[in-house]
Structure formats: structure tokens, C-alpha cells
């Protein structure tokens, strides 16, 4: 089904407006497909009554049971970094202090502009996300849950506000205080340290984390901050149990994952809307790609992700370990096929966008990303700047308060490492975008 996120049809935007690079906006219209677990309720309206009919009452688990469940089901964070959820949970629990109850933060900012999976989840199943947050809060003895959405996805903010309102009037989870805090709609505002800065009343920009938020986060309290999908996965897992959850995925990656398929080319007559799927881990990746984009390169993980060639993708399953074996990463679950578009030209535009999205606070990012964007633009014009691109990629890595420079370097390095033939064709002017045949 198509979820029209904005109320007014005139607000509909294409999945990604690629020119000029600075105007890349999240999609207001998303194709959401029913899935085996967290997206099984897509066809019904997202209200609390339907949610309870579908899932039954939310179980209350003690900390030990929840930890055991999450570690046996290998639940990892779905925001991109893939940190084990049980470890985060136990760090928060270990740092509880007298008179300082922990805080739970649901990160639904979805800073990656072509990702739509957290939006899809909150538009179709907001109560599953809130259940996961409530479940975690109960296990930790937390009384406060904060949900952070982004201002460039106002439809998600509306869905969250409506769901919180429903729970309050139904007097559900009365021991909890829910709040909703919209943050800036920019790429780096979704980074966890930027979210915490925003909650502290400062600009939503990354700062150096000397101590993890699980130890000291919101108002100095131990804070469980995780991506929206992670909480929905935990809620679903608590309902069905580890055994059934494991049966949905593979031995090393149990359960399911949400994926956004957002094409980077502009096919005529075909949809620009990103599609959100929920699949069991182990599903062949090629099954998720549009038929006319299967023989081209795919950007995996979003703008901070890695390019993969058709050869790398052939036979590849959606599985964290299978990806890692091929030097690929699933990140926040974006599959962005280039289709007929030139990956060199696309990377140049994306790098210009990423440079523009820098918070401009850390020197290496402030200087390095514009230099990287300039070198990528030159490459797109046919100048061989590969050595300079590699040099700059090495200079910016691990030299910032957040992963923005690292993600940008990963993107450009993967173009050179994984698509050397496409870059070669581009430089010899034999690719489609420079007028040659492909």
C-alpha cells in the first residue's frame, strides 16, 4: 500500500530530488509492504485498538528476562552502527544510581534522507515502537520516555503525537511519562550525540562523547538511546519469544529487518517513491531490487554506505555477516540502485550534499568534506582525481565528533574500490552520462 504521509497532495515530493544536490529531502510518500513481523499490521489503521487486537497486551518483563531474550535473539541496533542491544541495556542498568532513574530515548530522526523505514514504521505501527520503549523502561525502572523525530518529516511527528495521545487517554502504562521532541531535519542531527545535545536544549549538533550516554546521558542520567526500529523489534520479540523470532532469520542474524529501496535514477513511467520492506535475514538481496535495476550498481546503507557491483550483489543474502565478508555493510538498511544512472555522477552529487550537511564544527570535516566534494566533482567532469580522493578519504576518517566524515569517506572509497570499471569508463568517456554507450 502507499502511505501518503503528507496531508495535502500538493506536498508530494519525489523520493529524492537529485538536482541540485542541496535540496535532497525525505520522501513524503512511501510504499509500505506488509511484512512477517513488525510490519504485519500495515493494512489496518495505526490506532491503539487495532494494535491491541493484532498483538495483544504488552508483556512486562524483568531486566534479567529481557536481557536474556535480547542476547539469545542477537538484537542489534538498527540505526546503522549495529551495537548489541543487550549490552546497551546492561550498561544502563549497571549505572543506575539512587535517585537517578534512567531515561529511554527513541531515536526516530532518521537523518539519512533516503531512508524511510523508521517513518514507515511510525506511520503504520507506532504503538509497537512505543511498546518496545515501555518494555525497556519497565525493565530498567525508568519513568520517562522521549521520542525524537525530525522537522523535515512532520508526518512522523504527527503520528507519534497521536499515538502518545491515545496511550495517555487510554491510561495505558501509567507509570510512564511520554514526551515528544522534534529536532532539526538535517543529516547529522540524527546522530546520537546530536540528539542528546538537542534534549539538553543546545543546538542539535554532534559533540565529543567522553562517556557513553548509557552511562551519562539525558540530565546526566544513564540513558537507553536506540533507533525506533530496534524498539519495535524488541516489542515483537517479547510477544513471540526467541524461538519463533530465530525461525524468521538465519543462525547468526535471527529475526527480520526493515529495508528501504530507494532508486537513485529517474526511470520514466516508474515510481519515485521509496519502498519499505520487512524481510527475514537470509533473503536474497536481488529479490528486493526493481527488475530494471538488478544489473547495475547498488548503494548499500545509504549516503554513508558502500557501493556494490552487480558481481558483489549476485548471490548475496540480507545478512550482516554475509555483507561483512564482502566488505559491505547494511547500515540503516537502505538499498539504493543506480539503475541506468552513472555512479560517478551520483557520488559527486551525494558528496556535495554531505559536505553541505557538515555541522562545520570539526576542522577535518569542515575542510576535508568540501575538498572531497570538489575532487569528486572534478572526477565527474572527467579529471582523474582518484589519488587525491583516496588521500582525502584517509585524512578525514576518525577525526570528528561524529561519524559524518567517516561515512562520507566510506562512500567515495567504495566507488573507487568496488566500481573501478565504472570509474574507468567514466574517465575514458564511454559511460552513458558522458554520452557514450553503456
Amino acid at each position: 500500500m502507499t502511505i501518503l504521509a503528507s496531508s495535502s497532495p500538493s506536498m508530494i515530493q519525489p523520493a529524492m530530488s537529485i538536482q541540485p544536490a542541496m535540496s535532497i529531502q525525505p520522501a513524503a510518500s512511501i510504499q509500505v509492504y506488509p511484512g512477517p513481523l513488525v510490519l504485519r499490521g500495515v493494512a489496518t489503521t495505526p490506532d491503539l485498538a487495532n494494535h491491541l487486537a493484532q498483538w495483544g497486551a504488552q508483556p512486562k518483563l524483568d531486566l534479567t528476562t529481557l536481557l536474556e531474550l535480547c542476547s539469545s535473539a542477537v538484537v542489534k541496533g538498527r540505526g546503522g552502527a549495529g551495537f548489541p542491544f543487550a549490552r546497551k541495556l546492561s550498561t544502563v542498568a549497571d549505572h543506575r544510581r539512587r535517585g537517578q532513574r534512567p531515561v529511554v530515548v527513541v531515536n526516530a530522526a532518521e537523518g539519512e534522507p533516503i531512508s524511510a523505514k523508521d517513518s514507515a514504521l511510525l506511520l503504520t505501527s507506532p504503538h509497537l515502537v512505543l511498546d518496545g520503549a515501555a518494555l525497556s523502561a519497565h525493565a530498567l525502572g525508568a519513568r520517562e520516555v522521549i521520542i525524537v523525530t525530525a522537522s523535515d518529516r512532520p508526518w512522523v511527528a504527527d503520528a507519534v503525537a497521536a499515538a502518545i495521545g491515545e496511550r495517555e487517554s487510554a491510561r495505558a502504562d501509567r507509570s510512564l511519562r511520554w514526551s515528544h521532541r522534534p529536532t532539526a531535519g538535517r543529516f547529522v542531527a540524527g546522530a546520537s550525540q546530536a540528539v542528546l545535545e538537542h534534549l539538553a536544549g543546545r543546538a542539535a549538533l554532534p559533540v565529543t562523547a567522553w562517556v557513553p550516554e548509557a552511562v551519562r546521558g539525558v540530565r546526566g542520567r544513564p540513558t537507553l538511546l536506540s533507533n525506533a526500529e530496534t524498539f519495535a523489534q524488541v516489542a515483537a520479540l517479547a510477544r513471540i519469544g526467541a524461538e519463533e523470532y530465530r525461525a524468521l532469520g538465519t543462525a547468526t542474524s535471527p529475526g527480520t529487518t526493515l529495508l528501504t529501496v530507494a532508486r537513485l535514477d529517474e526511470p520514466s513511467g516508474s515510481s519515485h517513491e521509496p519502498a519499505v520492506h520487512e524481510v527475514g535475514y537470509g533473503t536474497p538481496l536481488v529479490d528486493l531490487l526493481p527488475w530494471d535495476a538488478q544489473d547495475g550498481p547498488v548503494l548499500l546503507g545509504g549516503f554513508h554506505g558502500t557501493w556494490a557491483s552487480p558481481v558483489q550483489i549476485a548471490g548475496l543474502a540480507v545478512d550482516r555477516d554475509a555483507f561483512a565478508e564482502r566488505s559491505l555493510a547494511l547500515g540503516a538498511g537502505v538499498l539504493a540502485p543506480a539503475g541506468r544512472a552513472c555512479p560517478v555522477a551520483l557520488t559527486a552529487r551525494i558528496t556535495a550534499y554531505l559536505a553541505d550537511q557538515s555541522a562545520r564544527r570539526c576542522g577535518p570535516c569542515l575542510n576535508g568534506l568540501p575538498a572531497l566534494a570538489e575532487s569528486m566533482a572534478a572526477l565527474a567532469r572527467g579529471v582523474d582525481t582518484r589519488a587525491r580522493i583516496r588521500e582525502l578519504g584517509g585524512v578525514v576518517v576518525r577525526r570528528g565528533a561524529c561519524a559524518h566524515p567517516d561515512g562520507s569517506a566510506r562512500l567515495v572509497s567504495s566507488l573507487l574500490d568496488h566500481l573501478p570499471d565504472a570509474v574507468g569508463d567514466h574517465l575514458s568517456r564511454s559511460c552513458t552520462c558522458t554520452g557514450g554507450a553503456r
Binding site: L205, V207, T208, G363, P364, R399
Partner: protein, 69 residues
């Protein structure tokens, strides 16, 4: 290889490329093309004193000496 017990970490949003740290501790701190520090290794016991000086000399207090682990 000499064992290290500590490492230097830059507080990037605060660093202003003044370059004093690299002058005090050229063994471990190089600078990039814009003058920002590049930490090239861990702090060995012999360099510990110089590392402390590098931390103290920073006018932006953007360098910290942290224990490994």
C-alpha cells in the same frame, strides 16, 4: 614495539588548529594540510611528560590524555 599505557584524543569541535600541541610533541602529533592535529601513535612512558605538556599548552583545551582501555 614499545607498549603504550595512554592515548591522546582531540575534542574536534573545540580544536582550532593553533598547532601548539604538534610543536610540543612532534613525535606523536603531526598536522594535516589545514593545520589540524593528526595523532600518529599511543603515548609511551617516555613521552608521557611531553604528552601532558601538549595537553596543557592547548589554548582551546581541546586535547586530552586518556588511559588505554
Amino acid at each position: 614495539m614499545t607498549s603504550t599505557s595512554a592515548h591522546l584524543r582531540v575534542d574536534w569541535p573545540h580544536c582550532d588548529a593553533r598547532g601548539l600541541c604538534a610543536e610540543v610533541l612532534p613525535e606523536l602529533i603531526h598536522v594535516d594540510e589545514w593545520g589540524y592535529p593528526v595523532i600518529v601513535g599511543g603515548v609511551t612512558p617516555e613521552l608521557r611528560q611531553s604528552a601532558k605538556e601538549a595537553v596543557l599548552v592547548c589554548p582551546k583545551r581541546a586535547l586530552r590524555l586518556l588511559r588505554d582501555g
